[in-house]
């Protein structure tokens, strides 16, 4: 049984269901990637794991504990960190303050964690006195991931971390995400750049209309001719 498991999720934002029996799981030290066409419910599935969606059916467990009915704030306390796709930094605050806010719930000394984040993203250390809103798109994403890392999460969820950044920065970000995984954190991400994301994924989920269409390791999905033709553009 994996560390974070979502089983047979059904639900939506009040109208028709967006998730129709979608199941996901990710273990510590693993990267799981959710890909699929627009409107497949990728981001919605992630919101369901965070508790930002009313689920009609299905369960979410974290380390064997049922968290289906827990509020998003409590899930943060349980070790789930989330990086939204947009508005994911405090633009009017310095990089360092952004990281401090990430550690808001911690009562212990978090300078060590901050050093780790700076080791992971050296550019942030250089710019730590600068406002996060003045940084480039790629650097802002690093701040966003860094802020999430400050909680010392067991699960890191990323909603399209490479949206709007250049291909070089994207490769760089994926390298960093691999390093995060090596720290024994479960990484779950939604990605538009499906092929590149599946390259680093241990597990891939192809969602279509809120249901699992294909599931497999990253390599398997990349090698699957149907997946290649329909979702990865040949």
């Amino acid at each position: 049984m994996s560390y974070l498991v979502a089983d047979q999720l059904r639900g939506g934002y009040g109208g028709a269901d967006i998730l129709n029996g979608c199941s996901l799981s990710v273990d510590k030290g693993e990267i799981a990637v959710i890909v699929g066409p627009n409107g497949a419910g990728k981001s919605t599935a992630m919101k369901a794991l965070l508790g930002m969606l009313n689920l009609r059916e299905g369960t979410v467990t974290l380390g064997g504990k049922d968290i289906t009915h827990m509020s998003p704030q409590d899930r943060v306390g349980e070790g789930i960190a989330f990086v939204p796709q947009t508005h994911n930094v405090f633009g009017g605050m310095t990089v360092e303050e952004n990281l401090e806010m990430g550690a808001f719930l911690r009562t212990d000394d978090f300078t060590g964690t901050m050093e780790q984040v700076y080791d992971l993203f050296p550019i942030l250390k250089q710019k730590r006195r600068q406002n996060a809103g003045e940084l480039s798109g790629g650097q802002r994403q690093q701040v966003a991931v860094g802020r999430a890392m400050m909680t010392q999460p067991s699960v890191l969820m990323l909603d399209e971390p490479t949206a709007g950044v250049s291909p070089i920065v994207m490769d760089e970000l994926f390298d960093r995400i691999l390093e995060v995984k090596q720290q024994g954190i479960a990484v779950l991400m939604v990605e538009q750049n499906a092929a590149q994301a599946l390259n680093i994924a241990d597990k891939g989920y192809v969602l279509v209309t809120g249901t699992n269409k294909h599931t497999g390791s990253g390599e398997e999905l990349l090698a699957d001719p149907v997946v290649r033709r329909t979702f990865l553009g040949g």
């Binding site: 939204p84 508005h87 405090f90 633009g91 009017g92 605050m93 806010m101 808001f104 719930l105």
Partner: protein
Amino acid sequence: MPEFVDILNAIVLFSNFVLVPAISYGAQLALGALGITLVYGILRFSNFAHGDMMAFGTMVVILVTWGFQSMGISFGPLPTALLALPFGIMGAVALSLAFDKTVYKFYRTKKSAPVIFVIVSTGVMFMTNAIVRFIIGPSDQRFMDGTKFIFRPREFREFTGLSEGLALKSTQVLTLTVTIMCVAALFYFLQKTRTGKAMRAFSDNKDLALLSGINPDRVVLITWILVAALATTAGTLYGLDKSFKPFTYFMLLLPMFAAAIVGGIGSPIGAVVGGFVIAFSEVIVTYAYKKFFIYLMPESLEPTGLMQFLSTDYKFAVSFIILVVVLLIRPTGIFKGQSI
């Protein structure tokens, strides 16, 4: 060419009627605008009840001051009102929190649009206004005691030998001192403390603040406490400097809003700068410069009129015009607050 002593006289005249009053008025507006900007930045609405919150807090200060005076307690050369200020702040905090629990919270839970909040705050404004008039009455109250002047115009004239006098009221010095202390404390709180940073984070990006585990109820609570404290302090300083009248405090809403918007609403430093910009504009535009020019101009060019741009009756028009111009030309204000 005017003589040197005439230039000095002109400077003293200008300081006495423009510079010194504008600085103390600006400091009072700055404290008021800080409260407006904090509510806007964190609770996300324009609080029209702010002027009357100021009046309520000041009313409590006045009542407690009278109580102290009747018990024979005084603060030496300083006004007794300073001793009563903590009680006024407590009163204003209690009223703010009561309104928050009974009124604002309902709309916050419903996630109402900002315009609804503005209307709601107008209702709160009328209620607060009524409470204040009911308790202390609508008329003018003076509650200043202690030393009135640091130096009087006559003393200044005798000391310097100039024909113009300069007065420095103790309330003016007090206003500036207290404002500097409050602003410094507020900025330290917002920039350096964990709670202050959490409030800035909440103002900056509410969703991300919630994701970081910041407790929204606590942020709201602390915001109201700060706002009530700032409003009461501003109101008390204004009342000591001039006088207390509920209607005047309601009217202060316009220059305070103008100050917050000129500086950039949501930006605390902007509120302070905006306060001084509005105060100086108001005083400079409504001052009669006749005597000032008589000192500086050769006799043949002496002005015959008052040399006043606007009558003091129109001083609120100054804030209003500045407000409109800023919203048209630079809606984010000097320090790039949120655009409204």
